[in-house]
Amino acid sequence: MSSPSKRREMDLMKLMMSDYKVEMINDGMQEFYVDFKGPKESPYQEGVWRIRVELPDAYPYKSPSIGFVNKIYHPNVDEMSGSVCLDVINQTWSPMFDLVNVFEVFLPQLLLYPNPSDPLNGEAAALMMRDRTAYDQRVKEYCEKYAKAEDVGGASEEQSSDEELSEDEYDSGDDAVAGQADP
């Protein structure tokens, strides 16, 4: 493979240029987090999710794996682990697709039109088929509970918990921080 990293770099850069908040996990350009907003015109539109993207070695010939970090109620997403079925992406994947495609086209489409042939969350699939309104309602509930903007921002690094503390205890902020610093 000729310069495998060049393609990854370009894709990452393009993703960052398109106003997505990207956070690398390590420096290997293999995995990273992206913040993703639910598509408009769907019950998911209020939600913000943190998505974990993993690029396999054979990228771009193989599709990346996508996982939702915070909970989402969707027929094709496993509720516990948040992983999206690989086959769904792989079936339509082409080496010319890039990460921006995934976030601009593929994920919104998946949320708007779940793929019934492979329900990881069978209950969600059944509910969707049985009673669409109830399904929408449930989706919104989950968005309220698990997919608020704070959920996504707060779950990132350890430092954020420190930040939260210092924000809350603003008056005694200095003291509190100083107190913690001493081992």
Partner: protein
């Protein structure tokens, strides 16, 4: 047609006469190697158009020039357009062409063959055709003889030596300037009888693509072409075959006379070229006495198309119109079925050449390579060789051969097998081939495999098939010998019979073994069926082979979830849901409950961000959601507890 008997000898200057000068063509054998103008009479002055050997030889241009008069024959006989097709034509013309021939070592044999072939073909033409051909020959003179004519027709004024010297200097300067401006496109020839001569190829390019249509109707009455009457075959090109301007500079140029010139264009008809010639004349007249060639070339390059009215669109033809034309106009235009392929293929060649000479970026790996590194598919998409190879290898290795199409997202057209063979290598190509065959056969519903020799056979209706190899006639449902009127043996029955036979004594050893294998097979099939029943909690299933959806419960092919909405089949029968919940890991449930109860003491899992409660003092956390172990204190994933906790690491038991 004595004039045409040209210089077979002209060529010989650079090379001794040999094979390619076909013996079929009569040569005036007495041609001296280098023809001096004084030695020849006006009738048969063999022009010596051998280019200055110091010039870098562009093998294409001379032939293009000569293609003009000779194109018709070659297209009648050969469909291939290329620069090698310049030796075609009848004997006479070829002779002259030979006289002009440059050294084309690589093309000589080809030309030789062509010439003979054409000669034969020419002989075989009908009388009618040959008559028209002859009249074409009248029109179609080679450039040389025309220029000769011009030269002869003009009486050069007597000039003083001083004037001659000035002119000579001016000419030399001008040629030098032209050469430096136009480079390879401009070529200086050997002197024609002490006169300078040169030729330039003027390329007309239309980067914005210009449309070319054809007007077949030769009637002069029509002023505008009506598409209903005229057959128009529009196509776009970016590169047009060049205008070739050939000049001989008289001694009194630039002071008194303009250069003798001839314009040769492959695709324009004579009348239009004549218009161009008149325009060149008027350019000279406007500023006679000065060097004019540069103006001519510039005008031809920039304004000729619009002068002819071809700004937006070029109209070929009219064909079959005979008009009084300028002798200096040399056309190669013959008929639409000849011109159109020629223009198109010239354009394609030029585009390909440009592609090869430039750097391009592969859209898969974003690396830049020269155009030659790229592989272009029939669907016109191109990718670099490395990417194509990796792409093919991965798919063949994984067996997903059906996805091995054009990598372009929306295209999906097939990759030619020859190319695949090159990319994959023989062994992998074999594998690809057999995988494709297997997958295609599997997707065909009426293909069954014979149980004796495993060859694929086509099934008839009535569930019957006969193997073409071993002629075994079998039932397609159970793959046993054909049983007419009786139903297939159920697996249970078969199993029972086989098991009974196992215990019987009068079975030979290998037969017993075979039947034992069959028993195992039936048993494992039963196991598989059992598993396959329990796994999907949802009743909808999709076939892995052909992708169709069907209801597991009632075995009907369905289109989506509608089948479950109104009808008997439930998508999620209650019992299944209960079973599923019961099967769910009780530890998970416990973990979840604990997480909800002991909210104050817990930490989110670093892997899946689910909240886990800390139990007692133990800092070793086990996430109920993703089954990962991690440490409460440092929030890192723990692989080996003994390594992580200890005097050096985190404390395993702490309060709070």
């Amino acid at each position: 047609m004595g004039k045409d008997r040209g210089g077979g000898g002209g060529k010989q200057k650079l090379r001794p006469p040999n094979g390619p000068d076909s013996p079929a063509l009569p040569y005036s054998s007495s041609q001296p190697e280098r023809v001096q103008p004084t030695a020849s009479t006006s009738h048969s002055k063999p022009p010596n158009f051998i280019p200055n050997p110091k010039k870098p030889r562009n093998p294409n241009w001379v032939s293009r020039n000569r293609r003009g008069p000779l194109v018709k024959q070659q297209f009648v006989k050969k469909s291939e357009v290329g620069s090698s097709n310049d030796q075609v034509g009848s004997g006479r013309i070829v002779e002259t062409a030979t006289g002009q021939q440059e050294e084309h070592e690589e093309k000589e044999e080809e030309e030789e063959k062509e010439r003979i072939a054409i000669g034969v073909g020419v002989a075989g033409e009908d009388v009618g055709a040959s008559e028209s051909r002859k009249s074409h020959e009248d029109d179609v003179y080679d450039v040389v003889s025309r220029l000769e004519e011009l030269q002869l027709g003009v009486q050069e004024p007597e000039l003083s030596d001083e004037q001659l010297r000035i002119n000579d200097q001016a000419q030399a300067d001008e040629l030098l300037a032209m050469e430096s401006i136009y480079g390879d496109l401009f070529c200086i020839f050997e002197r024609q009888g002490d006169l300078r001569s040169c030729q330039i190829h003027i390329h007309i390019e239309a980067p914005g693509e210009i449309a070319v249509t054809t007007k077949l109707n030769s009637s002069d009455h029509k002023t505008r072409s009506n598409s209903s009457d005229d057959f128009s075959y529009p196509f776009n090109v970016q590169h047009l075959p060049p205008i070739i301007l050939t000049c001989i500079l008289p001694k009194s140029y630039p002071s008194h006379l303009p250069p003798y010139f001839s314009i040769s264009v492959q695709w324009l008809d004579s009348s239009k070229i004549s218009n161009l010639c008149s325009m060149l004349d008027s350019i000279w007249t406007e500023q006679s006495g000065q060097e004019v060639m540069y103006q001519w070339v510039e005008w031809l390059q920039n304004s000729s198309l619009s002068f002819l009215g071809f700004d937006k669109e070029i109209i070929l033809g009219p064909y079959g119109v005979r008009a009084a034309v300028d002798r200096r106009a040399v056309t190669g235009s013959v008929s639409p079925d000849v011109d159109i392929p020629f223009i198109k293929s010239y354009n394609d060649d030029k585009l390909l050449e440009n592609f090869h000479n430039n750097l391009h970026e592969c859209c898969i790996c974003f690396s830049e390579y020269a155009g030659t590194e790229f592989i272009r598919l029939p669907c016109r998409h191109f990718f670099c060789g490395g990417c194509m190879k990796t792409y093919s290898d991965i798919h063949v290795k994984e067996g997903t051969v059906h996805k091995l199409q054009c990598p372009d997202a929306k295209c999906g057209s097939m990759i030619p097998p020859g190319l695949l063979k090159r990319l994959l290598g023989d062994e992998e190509f074999e594998r690809w081939d057999s995988l494709m065959l297997t997958k295609t056969l599997e997707s065909m519903s009426d293909v069954v495999y014979c149980s004796r020799c495993e060859t694929p056979c086509i099934a008839d209706e009535d569930q019957h098939a006969q193997c073409v190899k071993c002629f075994f006639s079998f039932c397609t449902l159970c793959r046993e010998r054909r049983h007419v009127g009786v139903e297939c043996m159920t697996p249970e029955l078969k199993l029972r019979i086989l098991q009974e036979r196992q215990s019987s004594s009068h079975l030979k050893d290998d037969q017993k073994r075979k039947e034992l294998e069959m028993i195992n097979e039936v048993l494992s099939v039963r196991e598989i069926l059992r598993d396959a029943k329990q796994c999907p909690s949802c009743k909808m299933m999709v076939c892995e082979n052909c992708g169709h959806y069907f209801c597991y419960r009632c075995d009907k092919e369905i289109d989506g979830y509608d089948h479950f909405r109104d009808g008997e089949c439930e998508l999620f029968p209650q019992e299944e849901i209960r079973n599923w919940e019961a099967q769910m890991n009780p530890r998970q449930v416990l973990g979840q409950i604990q997480a909800q109860l002991f909210v104050q003491n817990g930490q989110v899992c670093p892997n899946c961000r689910q909240f886990n409660a800390k139990i007692g003092n133990n800092n070793h956390m086990f996430c109920w959601a993703c089954q990962n172990h991690y440490c409460y204190l440092c929030k890192k994933i723990v692989r080996r507890g003994s390594h992580h906790y200890g005097p050096k690491g985190c404390k395993q038991h702490t309060e709070g």
